[in-house]
């Protein structure tokens, strides 16, 4: 039975503008700082009929009670008893069993389905979830095998959810005034909630495009840049950890929604399978919801030798290239090729890869306190065939 140790504690995160924001959050390192989002928990299901159970030891190093809820999981127990809302003199104080400051509590969780889920605080959740006490859970199907044809799936073999790479995008929004009030022990009027930052995996763009575990963001370990090769199936797992809904639009292609809230979009009636998945170019990632989708991009078959683009490339000195002196562009319209860029232009292009924005279409959310570019935005980088490592964009099989 897998056991995960989490500590609820505090820490700081950075914004691209250089601001520091006080957070509460989880860490899986004793004595560590809170990270945003909390450590991703990955569980591989047992072969049915065996149930899959995992334990989480939650140690509370904050100065008020903290708990964990597991939306979408079948059975959650503490000390062998089903978790219950907690009351004090008849007043609801927590949606579930909690750990007092300094205390450790063990939740025993039975999974209900493969898919993407959240775990989050159920104690004073408007405050504690906003402060950062949340993370994602990925449940793998029992027959999951990375890189194995037909077995590298989100929901099990035969479910049409095969993927070549996978990326988890945990979405949230932050009102820094709220965080400052909590840091200083002041009251905060929830009616005043006004987010100034929108985040993927606890980072605002352009930090979303930095690698995992980049040293300058010690408490925001997870990147959100999506790297892929043409024609690959990329599993995008959205998890809405905030209180707002975010319309996410990936450039370059529709996504096919194959799972919602950790459930395969499929009905079986009298043995007849009805596939309920569908394609969209903008998916509303709602608060508390998870969306598992397959994205692919194959291009239009242009190449300079046999199928050139049907327009002339203008003199680039007459055009506007990139943003404030930098560009992600290679200078060529062809995948895997590089062209000459105007002098003085810094290009972050590595191998002639093409970049497609993935962003909230509620466009004020792609700012950092009003300044574009920022916020809930990242890039999908399509690299030339054979240039990405085997394990790029593969999360562990289990933890």
């Amino acid at each position: 039975m897998p056991t995960i140790n989490l500590w609820a504690t505090d820490g700081y995160i950075s914004t691209p503008g250089g601001k520091s924001i006080y957070i509460w959050g989880f860490t899986d390192q004793e004595g560590g700082s809170a990270q945003l989002p909390g450590p991703t928990i990955i569980i591989k299901e047992e072969q049915p009929p065996a149930e899959t159970v995992f334990d989480i030891n939650l140690t509370n190093n904050l100065n008020e009670p903290v708990s964990l809820t597991f939306p979408g999981q079948k059975n959650v127990k503490v000390n062998g008893q089903r978790v219950q809302p907690q009351y004090n003199n008849g007043e609801l104080v927590s949606l579930t069993n909690y750990a007092l400051p300094g205390e450790t509590i063990t939740y025993s969780v039975t999974t209900s389905s493969p898919g993407t889920f959240l775990y989050e605080s159920g104690t004073n959740p408007f405050k504690q979830v906003q402060m950062g006490l949340y993370g994602a859970i990925i449940v793998r199907p029992c027959d999951y095998e990375p890189h194995e044809t037909g077995l590298c799936t989100a929901y099990g073999t035969g479910t049409g959810t095969e993927f070549d790479r996978e990326y988890l995008l945990v979405l949230s929004e932050v009102d820094p005034a709220f965080h400052q009030a909590v840091k200083q022990g002041r009251d905060y009027d929830t009616r005043q909630f006004k987010p100034r930052y929108w985040m993927i995996n606890g980072r605002c763009a352009p930090d979303t495009m930095l690698p995992d575990y980049t040293p300058q963001l010690p408490n925001q370990p997870y990147g959100a840049m999506i790297l892929m090769e043409p024609g690959e199936k990329v599993l995008l797992r959205y998890a809405g950890a905030g209180i707002q809904n975010h319309p996410l639009h990936p450039h370059g292609h529709h996504t096919r929604l194959v799972g919602l809230d950790g459930r395969l979009l499929q009905n079986i009636n009298n043995g007849e399978v009805n596939d309920l998945s569908y394609e969209r170019f903008t998916v509303l990632a709602a608060a508390g919801q998870t969306c598992d989708q397959i994205y692919t991009w194959a291009g239009l078959g242009f190449d300079p030798a046999t199928n050139p683009i049907p327009t002339t490339i203008p003199n680039l000195r007459n055009m506007s290239i990139g943003h404030l002196g930098w560009t992600l562009w290679s200078g060529s319209p062809y995948l895997g090729h590089k062209g000459e860029l105007p002098s003085g232009m810094v290009s972050y292009n590595n191998a002639g890869e093409e970049y497609f924005m993935l962003h909230s279409h509620a466009e004020l959310e792609i700012t950092n306190w009003g300044a574009y570019p920022g916020g809930l935005m990242t890039m999908i980088a399509v690299y030339p065939p054979g240039t990405l490592g085997f394990n790029q964009g593969m999360l562990p099989t289990s933890l």
């Binding site: 006004k194 170019f281 509303l284 683009i309 007459n318 055009m319 093409e354 509620a362 466009e363």
Partner: protein, 352 residues
């Protein structure tokens, strides 16, 4: 078929029913305009932007020409066109400045695409999109199926013969919001804080009710050419092409009839094995960057009695959005006018 279009980007001023004019950025169609005359279009941006209508298989060459912003001559912003939702688009033609090219003042760039799938799309500028979308650089885009033929009812469809998407008339229902404080700041060379975004107007096809159902006059709506009035004969099938390029979700309803949702984001709702997942709705709930194709059958409530045209109301069930800067009624409201069968001639273009 090869399609050549030329779109200019510039600025302009639009009207709301309270008599206020608002500064916008936007597009205007200059296809076929002689080179010496294109600068006559400076300051003539339209809201909504000129709708683009293509057929699957068209070779579309769209040239964007940046003719500057006369109200803000200091502003030397480049602009782009992003075709929102075209599958497998290459970055070079995708109109996102950070990984490709944008068009400075006085320059042209030609975007190429061969539409692959029918449906309702949209296009907009992707340079500093929070500002340029809010300022009005947004329009709808239709791709018709390859077999589209308006002379044969079974081929006058949204998604092709045999897809159950036949219609008699079609209308753009293009949704956006306008924060007049932000537009005012930008006209006055100030930087807004986008996190303070708070719309004061809710628009269909660039207009706020009652402008949605009226005609332009010499003084008003000169740069908002698109009415949102839905006129149809009883018994006809009407296709509403909803597009949302605001920053808010909207909830449009039309009591008196029921929508069949036959397309979402330019895709028929089909499962992996072709399962038909179309469904009926009274409220079209649509988030920014989404499109919805809804067909309704025009009711014949009077059964031949006098009293035509019968009026149905289309409005936002987020009722706070049926306002014009606080005045009621206004905002995201329009009407369906129903005529006796055979009254209106066949439609030759959307929104007639």
């Amino acid at each position: 078929m090869k399609v050549d279009i030329r779109i200019a980007v510039t600025d302009g001023w639009i009207d709301t029913p309270d008599g206020i004019k608002h500064y916008i950025f936007g597009f205007v169609d200059i296809t076929g305009v002689p080179e010496a005359e294109i600068f006559n279009y400076c300051g003539k941006a339209e809201l909504m932007a000129p709708p683009l209508v293509f057929i699957v298989g068209d070779e579309v060459y769209l040239t964007l020409t940046n003719i500057g912003t006369p109200t803000r001559p200091d502003l030397d912003d480049p602009h782009t066109i992003h075709y929102h939702g075209f599958p497998n688009q290459i970055a070079f033609y995708d109109g996102v400045p950070e990984p490709s090219i944008a068009v400075p003042v006085g320059r042209n760039f030609t975007y190429y695409y061969k539409p692959l799938n029918p449906g309702t799309y949209m296009y907009h500028c992707h340079q500093e999109p929070v500002e340029h979308i809010q300022m009005g650089m947004t329009g709808p885009l239709i791709v018709r199926p390859a077999d589209y033929d308006p002379d044969y009812p079974e081929y006058k469809t949204a998604y092709g013969h045999g897809t159950g998407t036949e219609f008699d008339r079609e209308f753009y229902i293009f949704l956006s919001e306008l924060d007049c404080h932000i537009h005012d700041l930008i006209a006055k060379v100030q930087d807004p804080d986008w996190t303070e975004y708070k719309p004061t107007y809710w628009l269909i096809n660039g207009r706020s009710y009652p402008d949605t159902i009226t005609n332009p006059t010499p003084c008003c709506l000169q740069q908002q050419p698109w009415s949102a009035l839905i006129r149809a004969n009883a018994g006809e099938k009407v296709l509403l092409r909803f597009v949302n390029l605001g920053f808010q979700q909207h909830a449009l309803q039309l009591p008196g009839t029921v929508f069949k949702i036959i397309g979402m984001d330019a895709m028929r709702p089909l499962g992996r094995n072709g399962e038909d997942l179309s469904f009926f709705k009274n409220v079209v709930y649509i988030s920014p960057g989404q499109s919805t194709d809804a067909i309704f059958t025009v009711p014949d409530p009077f059964q031949g009695q006098a009293g035509f045209p019968v009026v149905l109301s289309l409005y936002n069930r987020n009722l706070n959005k049926n306002y014009t800067a606080g005045m009621v009624p206004g905002g995201m409201i329009s009407q369906v006018h129903i005529y006796p069968p055979g009254t209106l001639p066949p439609q030759t273009a959307p929104n007639q």
